[in-house]
Amino acid sequence: MRCFGYPFKQAYPEQDQMESTASPERTPSPTPNLNALLRTGRWRWGDTVFRVVVSGTAASIVLGVILLVITMFEAGLAALIAFGPSFVWSTVWNPVSQVFGVLPAVYGTIATSALALVLAVPVGIGAAIFLAELAPRWLSNPISFLIEMLAAIPSVIIGFWGLFVVVPLVRQVEAPLGRVLGVIPMFSGPAYGIGLLAAGVVLAIMILPILTAVARDVLRAVPTSQREAMLALGATRWETIARAVVPYARSGIVGATILALGRALGETLAVSMVIGNTFQVSPSLFAPATTLASLIATQFREADTALYLSALIAAGFVLFVITMLVNVVARILVWKLTVQSVEV
């Protein structure tokens, strides 16, 4: 007999004793009603019911989106049929003669959002770099907190504040800017304060938090090895950030930017309070203008005919399509960049 040096349980004498004391119980005693026990179906339907209920709630989301598209399209159909493609291309919006075209509002929507991105992206990414790369934790945490709280402020309050603080400030900037650069159409015209520029500034403030927060998280996720590799090559802190960290995180930063763009396109109240709601296409940033969302919000109560109302809802549908396109492009872009960075 070979023994490999394992201590067997038989080596425990007390164990054998216990076995002998337990022996009366060791006679076979099949469980009497095992058959019934094996299929106790008391909660048999519970799983099915619960599954159906939560599936239903999930289905409500899908159903909601489908219903949203259908009902909006249906309600806006009258205007879309009446004006055809000119609804999007025409610059005439005349409730009196019942002619509706939304091009100026589309222009205003895109112009204010683009302006907001131009203003917010450098600041937001700069702030994200500061929070993720430069600031010590004790400083980075409270500043992150404050910037994120900015996102929680209701937009109507930001609009109110914009009307009383940002607009006068913009007016003061516009006057000298117009004197110096007035030959360029972009900076021409009287300085009202209210207008595209003010709307762009307010929008920039509103998208700054999401831009900063997402970019900060993306930058923090960059592996330390990337930084160390660049530092070891003799790069300065800034060179490391600009050449190693930011490029590594570029897909996430692009995603953050487009996410912010989606927010800016649909923002209503804050913009409508500072943009002047004037239906025109002007090359000047100082000119009052309108956006799709602002147009709908301010004129909805005045819509006295079915066609007028339908035109406003159709404008909402155009806004919906634009934001959807931006979101889909964002997804594809982020996906492509991610794939590329994996391949590299």
């Binding site: 007999m1 070979r2 023994c3 490999f4 394992y6 201590p7 067997f8 349980k9 038989q10 425990y12 164990q15 216990m18 076995e19 337990a22 119980e25 060791r26 006679t27 076979p28 099949p30 469980t31 095992l34 058959n35 019934a36 026990l37 094996l38 299929r39 106790t40 179906g41 008391r42 909660w43 048999r44």
Partner: protein, 280 residues
């Protein structure tokens, strides 16, 4: 509720494999030609094994040999994984647990399980953890206090936690948490206890306590313990099954027999190689 209209789960006679001679003539669990898959990957091939009543059966083998899959088939936890399926039979006291009329939820109340890492419910106190199985199937008018004490005594934990029944289950030490999980499994009064490497996350002292506990519990119910630790198998088990992943990483049963016999005089060359540490 069982009604007369429902088909009976017929006790399946298993003439090909007789209960092992030292089992007192009664079979806890019989595994018959069991194969298991995770999606397209086969994890077990044609396992036939007896788990005698009131004995400890250890399942040993190198990692990836299908030990855990095998015991997860015994209480049909295997099928919780999406895409998992089985073929063959598992007989609990002669009843096929894969029969269509068997509710896997009901089966799991009869076949208790203890996992690799202690997993007390973090939102529950020690007491609530022990009676969780009883409460969650809404068995009212039971004396929960008494049952909890009994289960904790059976798990040799009562003296250590009698004063902190209301504190969080996760506040106990690792070894105590594992015994709490054993008490939780015992509280629903299972017919069989499955243990999937119950000591792999514990220190040697805590491991010793669990092993002592296994030796005592063996007097009450059959226990199946999966372990990667051969010394442990030798210390606690009556019978040992050795598994090995064969071609295409499919787990197969190589040898099963009396523990002492297996460790001193293995009949298969591969078993001998494994227990002498030549591979695995």
């Amino acid at each position: 509720m069982q009604t007369a209209a429902q088909p009976q789960v017929a006790p399946v006679a298993a003439p090909s494999v007789s209960p092992s001679p030292d089992s007192g003539g009664r079979l806890g669990i019989g595994v018959r030609h069991l194969s298991a898959w995770y999606g397209p990957h086969q994890a077990l091939r044609d396992i036939t094994l007896d788990i005698p009543d009131r004995q400890v059966t250890a399942i040993i083998g190198p990692s990836g040999c299908g030990k855990s899959t095998l015991i997860r088939c015994l209480n049909r936890m295997h099928e919780v994984t999406p895409g998992a399926r089985t073929q063959g039979q598992v007989l609990l006291e002669g009843h096929d647990v894969f029969a269509p009329s068997v509710d896997p939820v009901a089966l799991r109340r009869l076949v208790g399980m203890v996992f690799q890492r202690p997993n007390p419910f973090p939102t529950m106190s020690v007491f609530d953890n022990v009676v969780a199985g009883l409460r969650l199937v809404a068995q009212r008018n039971r004396n929960l206090d008494e049952l909890a004490e009994r289960s904790l005594r059976r798990a040799a934990l009562w003296d250590e936690v009698r004063d902190k029944l209301r504190s969080a289950g996760t506040a106990l030490s690792g070894g105590q948490q594992q015994r709490l999980c054993i008490a939780r499994a015992l509280a629903v009064d299972p017919k069989v206890l499955l243990m999937d490497e119950p000591c792999s996350a514990l220190d040697p002292i805590a491991t010793l306590r669990i092993e002592e506990l296994i030796r005592v519990l063996r007097e009450e119910i059959p226990i199946v313990i999966v372990t990667h630790n051969m010394q442990q198998a030798a210390r606690v088990s009556d019978r040992t099954a050795f598994m090995l992943a064969g071609e295409e990483r499919v787990g197969e049963l190589i040898e099963v027999g009396d523990t002492a016999e297996m460790f001193t005089n293995p009949s298969d060359k591969r078993t001998e190689d494994y227990i002498t540490g030549r591979f695995g």
